[in-house]
Amino acid sequence: MGKEKTATSPELIGLYSSLLNEIWGKASELIGESLLAFFILLTIDRMANKFSILRGIRVSEAGISLETMRNQCQDIPPEDVHRAFQGFIKNLFNVFTAISENVINRELFSTVLPKLREAEKMISR
């Protein structure tokens, strides 16, 4: 059996897109779309200086989309995409902790952790 091929940036973005949509679904049930969109935009704003790729995340009260980013990320190494999303999700969780202690994070851990592990695996192949 040969070594599995390393994930491409669009594949990683596909995984994070599914993860962020799950976060959107669960967190919006708790705090509503408008507040959630605000927190995501706040996190992007604070992280985008370090990871400019995050500016490609589109957020509105209708949901979150990484389609623009997926189309623009061909030249970005998958490791950079992974680092940017890891930083983004960590910061988003910090925002959730600041406002709701662990109420939101508790609801999200079961979804987020397996997907983050999957992303780790894809990047370390």
Partner: protein
């Protein structure tokens, strides 16, 4: 099921109470006084970004230490959300103690142990933040957060409505250029003051003011500079008046001052103070420093007993024209005589 229904009904009544208010103070009071019916909390806090007013509604048993921790934490939350650092000295804190329906879950050391805090957002703009605060750890669950976010949405939405309502109210009564009252509002005020004066036989004075040679400013420097002159005069008028006096832009370059419970003699002192303050204050018009002057006409009850506010205004207008005719930059009083309806008084 019964508990959920009861909670939903309570939530509904809180949202309705908030929604029933047009004024910001009513919205805050409705939320603060009712929120403990739904949550097991020791304090509810709301911090407004615009004026940095912090309102803390807390249980009567809460200690000073707890209230201080709530204040500190609420300020920290708003700083975190806005990214702007706020010092406690900047905040105006209002504390209201009341009886909260707290279910005691064991002993407490009276410290802040648990809180959920949400921003008040409307159209992407942060208006402030709200917090539920408890002296027990992990006091809030997913349902509490859901309910609290619904209340937060309602507070933010009602706040926005109250801002719109308040700015509409302002538009209806203030002159948009000079920010003194407009003609419509001063007409209402004068009608009321005139009626009060007749009923209670109290004095009432009015001063009609016109900027001297205003047309020349507009012609020479343009309308923008003319507008600047109007703003300048309006600002000096406000500064020269007493707390209960009312000033309005009456027409183009005309202002009307209503002085309730004021006799002619005192009105003259005020009018002269206004005239002098304008005469000694220069204004940059174009690239020049210019000094404006005004002419003023006073009419007063009981020096005359007009039948209507319109008649009183007409008398002040007559005195104003007398001041203009006598060379401007002066105050004239309307004192009817047999031969002359207005007697000019040279005031400088």
């Amino acid at each position: 099921m019964r508990i959920i229904f009861k909670n939903l009904m309570t939530l509904w009544s809180i949202i309705n109470a908030i929604n029933a208010n047009d004024e910001l103070s009513g919205i805050i009071e409705a939320a603060g006084s009712k929120i403990s019916h739904l949550f097991d909390i020791v304090a509810f806090s709301i911090l407004l970004k615009e004026d940095l007013n912090l309102f803390i509604y807390c249980d009567e048993s809460s200690s000073r230490l707890f209230v201080d921790e709530v204040a500190k934490n609420t300020i920290k939350t708003l700083s975190f959300i806005t990214g702007e650092s706020l010092a406690p000295e900047q905040i105006h804190t209002h504390i209201k103690k009341m009886r909260f329906e707290i279910q005691r879950r064991g002993p407490s050391d009276g410290r802040l142990k648990s809180h959920i805090s949400l921003p008040l957002i409307n159209e992407g703009k942060v208006l402030g933040c709200v917090s539920l605060n408890s002296d027990h750890t992990n006091a809030f669950d997913a349902q509490a957060l859901q309910f609290f976010s619904l209340i937060t949405y309602q507070i933010a939405s009602s706040m926005k409505h109250s801002q719109v309502f308040s700015s509409m109210k302002d538009m209806a009564i203030y002159d948009s250029l000079t920010h003194v009252y407009n003609r419509r509002h001063i007409d209402q005020v004068l009608e009321e003051e005139f009626r009060n004066s007749w009923i209670s036989k109290q004095p009432l004075s009015i001063i009609m003011i016109d900027i001297d040679h205003f047309k020349a400013i507009n012609d020479q420097y343009g309308h923008d500079e003319g507008d600047k002159a109007l703003i300048h005069i309006a600002s000096l008028l406000k500064q020269s008046l007493r707390k209960h006096d009312i000033v309005a832009r009456f027409g183009g370059e005309e202002f009307l001052v209503v002085l309730p419970k004021t006799i002619m003699k005192d009105a003259l002192v005020i009018a002269e103070r206004i005239r002098r303050s304008i005469e000694v204050t220069s204004l940059s018009v174009g690239h020049k420093k210019v000094t404006l002057t005004i002419s003023l006409g006073i009419a007063a009850i009981p020096a005359i007993w007009p039948k209507s506010k319109e008649e009183l205004t007409k008398c002040a207008d007559t005195a104003l024209y007398e001041a203009k005719g006598k060379g401007r930059n002066r105050v004239c009083m309307y004192i009817p005589t047999k031969d002359s309806p207005a007697k000019g008084i040279l005031s400088k």
